[in-house]
């Protein structure tokens, strides 16, 4: 274990503190930089950070302990995290991870004795179309196979800095397979802003309203309504004179790029190749609700995009599309700051995201009040998905009626689908809403499709009998994930993977979710190990009911979906694994006495069960 002297820590922290002001909302960003510099967060650093921000030490520890990319114990100088989504597993992740561990003489989840390397699993990294994928010190590795792992092991053993590794290891392709109005038509930066300013803020809101645009993050709340609630909250405040000092109350635009749902990667592509469109949408939103500050909450897994996103922002500032007096309008200034996440699925929930923006643990707030009235720092805040903002830019440019003409009555426009799993051409597909699952499966070259997980683990599993259902809020709402499974896949393992995911990602705040997801995991593991009985299935159904009805936020209430869906649609996969007995212990009774037998040297009858 590396030892740090107090003065070393101070020397390291000084430039980091200089980059961030003393506002406690910078805490997470500071911790990320410390993690980078030391490969963990040393205890002494926690003391100094707490002193710097003038917060109790436990606050800093709480944040450091919450996010999975932060660590209070040393991880390897080279930290390799394999993406653990089911699609990565189907592509051989488990076997490849063991292969690399054997090459590097390190146990999964542990740090090598010389502190050089650690190998572990992490939740989906959003590279399902080019998996198996992993992160090395935060940088994405794609299309892993034995050859690439041989090379990676060699690079690590020769202690080559990650920055000097061959670029081909880090190539991330967009894989846009089908494009429509969002991805297929050219967009000139500034066009939507000019149209908005020419039309006026109120009129632009009317256009968004006319477009009937619904949020693309999954819930499908009508964007214009959200914006007008935010507007109403401000008008109310101004009317009753509870404004901030200075008269003009602050409000915020937040773009939710914490694309954590396993199987989703459309935001990655939008931010990589259509960042202007997204930022322009945010600026339109700012004009409509009167915000002067915006945040892009970028998930830690997409940190590799940070530099290029910063440069897009800089270009927009230079072009007069961001900053003071946008397009020469003295009354309109707006700027966007990028805020990094650190590996927490829960931060995709808007109020948890805001907590994280404020530098705290990503714990969902009580709602109401909703963020539109009490969001970032208690101010009215609009939080929208990356794709929603991209749509907004298009609507501002081309009008609401144009947008509303596409899709179905309740679901206008197009939807980006992130397709992965058993198909010939995984990648991004843009379809007008209303397309059938069967059509999509044909287009992506799915081989003998058997089931599709729509909208990720928290969404819906559909079986081959339901392939005529449509992608639309009226039928199958989706945030974008579309994972295809062919007949030979074991749907039980799929559900088990998702159950493990939820147990890992539960924020731990409310008991139904913290304990419920863990119990679900235990029972699924019990069934997987061949000890399951019929009573376990009943137990999971009642557990599912508790999770759905008693949880604090959407994570808990959807955490039982994979189990309940598979129980309903593929009951055979469970029944095949059950023992015939009415009850089986949850663990190997005799095996659990082995340590004590060794310890005492006993082998008599009473030492066995």
């Amino acid at each position: 274990m590396q030892q740090f002297e107090f003065s070393d820590i101070s020397r390291m922290l000084t430039p980091i503190f200089a980059r961030h002001d003393v506002d406690a909302s910078r805490l997470l960003q500071v911790l990320l930089e410390v993690q980078d510099a030391c490969h963990f967060i040393p205890s002494e650093a926690i003391d100094q950070i707490a002193a710097h921000f003038d917060v109790p030490r436990v606050n800093v520890e709480g944040v450091a302990g919450f996010y999975s990319f932060l660590s209070t114990r040393p991880v390897g100088e080279y930290r390799i995290l394999f993406s653990d989504n089911i699609t990565d597993q189907m592509l051989g992740k488990d076997e490849l991870m063991l292969y690399l561990c054997n090459k590097l003489w390190v146990e999964p989840g542990k740090v090598s004795e010389d502190g050089l390397v650690s190998v572990a699993s992490t939740s989906c990294t959003g590279l399902c179309d080019q998996g198996p994928a992993a992160l090395v010190n935060g940088w994405p590795l794609t299309n892993l196979d034995r050859n690439r792992l041989d090379l990676i092991a060699e690079l690590i053993r020769s202690r080559k800095p990650v920055a000097d590794w061959p670029p081909m290891l880090f190539e991330v392709a967009d894989n846009i397979r089908r494009s429509d109005v969002l991805l297929g038509q050219p967009f000139e930066p500034g066009a939507a802003m000019r149209a908005t300013l020419a039309r006026g803020a109120k009129e632009t809101l009317a256009e968004v309203d006319k477009s009937n645009l619904r949020g693309r993050g999954g819930a499908g709340f009508k964007t214009a309504s959200k914006w007008s609630f935010c507007h109403a909250a401000i008008v109310e405040e101004e009317g009753s004179m509870i404004c901030d000092v200075g008269g003009h109350p602050e409000r915020y635009i937040v773009c939710n790029a914490d694309e954590g749902e396993p199987g989703t990667f459309k935001d990655r592509v939008l931010l990589n190749s259509y960042a202007d469109l997204v930022f322009e949408g945010m600026t339109v939103g700012a004009r409509v609700v009167g915000a002067s500050k915006g945040f892009l909450y970028l998930r830690g897994e997409y940190r590799y995009l940070l530099k290029q996103l910063e440069s897009v922002l800089q270009k927009r500032r230079e072009a007069g599309l961001l900053g003071d007096a946008i397009l020469g309008r003295a009354d309109f200034s707006f700027d966007i700051e990028i805020h990094l996440g650190a590996g927490a699925y829960i931060c995709g929930e808007e109020s948890a995201l805001i907590e994280s923006l404020e530098g705290r643990r990503g714990r969902p707030r009580n709602r109401p009040p909703f963020p539109v009235t009490h969001g970032y720092k208690g101010r009215p805040t609009v939080v929208d998905n990356v794709e929603t903002f991209a749509c907004v830019a298009k609507i501002a440019e081309r009008g609401g009626a144009w947008f509303a003409a596409m899709g179905t009555a309740q679901s206008t426009g197009t939807k980006l689908l992130s397709i992965s799993g058993d198909c010939a051409t995984p990648g991004i597909y843009e379809y007008p809403f209303g397309v059938t699952v069967r059509q999509i499966l044909a287009d992506c070259g799915a081989r003998e499709p058997y089931a599709v997980q729509v909208s990720g683990p928290s969404g819906t599993l559909i079986s081959w009998k339901e392939f005529d259902r449509r992608i639309a809020f009226e039928d199958l709402p989706t945030a974008g994930a579309f994972m295809v499974f062919q007949r030979k896949r074991d749907m039980f393992q799929t559900a088990r993977n998702f159950v493990h995911f939820f147990a890992h990602e539960s924020c731990g705040f409310c008991t139904p979710c913290r304990v419920g997801t863990e119990l679900q995991k235990k029972i699924m593991d019990k069934i997987a190990s061949g000890h399951g009985t019929a009573s376990d299935l009943e137990e999971m159904k009642s557990l599912g009911h508790i999770l759905k009805t008693m949880s604090h936020c959407g994570l808990g209430s959807s955490a039982a979906n994979p189990v309940l869906d598979t129980l309903e649609k593929f009951p055979d996969v469970y029944v095949r694994k059950l023992k015939a007995l009415a009850f089986e212990p949850a663990f190997d009774l005799d095996g659990a006495l082995e340590t004590a037998r060794k310890m005492t040297g006993r082998d008599d009858d009473w030492a066995h069960l």
Binding site: S535, L581, A582, F583, P585, A586, F587, L589, A592, L593, E594, T595, A596, R597, K598, M599, T600, G601, R602, D604, W606, A607, H608, L609
Partner: protein, 206 residues
Amino acid sequence: MSEQSDRGPLPIPLPPVGEGEVVSPAGDAKKIRIATCSLAGCFGCHMSLLDIDERLFGLIKLVEFDRTPLTDIKHCGPCDVGIVEGGVCNAENVHVLKEFRNTCKVLVAIGACAINGGVPAMRNNIDLWECFQEVYQYEGGLDGGQVPNDPELPLPFDKVHPIYEVVRVDYFLPGCPPSGDAIWKFLTDLLNGREPKLDYEMLHFD
């Protein structure tokens, strides 16, 4: 081993009663047999059972205690209700628990330890071997100490488990310990053939 799975009504369905009293069974009907035990627990739940105080006299008219720490009967006969305190921490606990499951029609887990492992399960984060070495070998003043290995001593598990992981459990009566009132309400519900139900006030502790 065979596990009984019938969960039908108790042999003598009693008419519903008002709070705090139990209606005696008609004539010379057979009394309900109850067995209790404490596995990896502190007997606190048994103390709480005694906290039903003078209501014990009413209870004793209706029930007969089989194997319990109160009667000192060593093994269960056929019983109607088995009440288990404490989690499973060693091989003997499993034998006792299985005996209860085999002989009791209704099995009740009482208290935090039986339901979750409770305080004894705090050792689950400590390696068993390291723990025993520390206690029996490295502790000061233990020259030549060794881990006790008498066959009469029950062999400990790696971890402490809640009882539902070892046998099927019919009812859970939470609390640390559940109050005397909660136990009374639970028992009278059961004796009167009702599905036991505790109000919120009997379940919250602050």
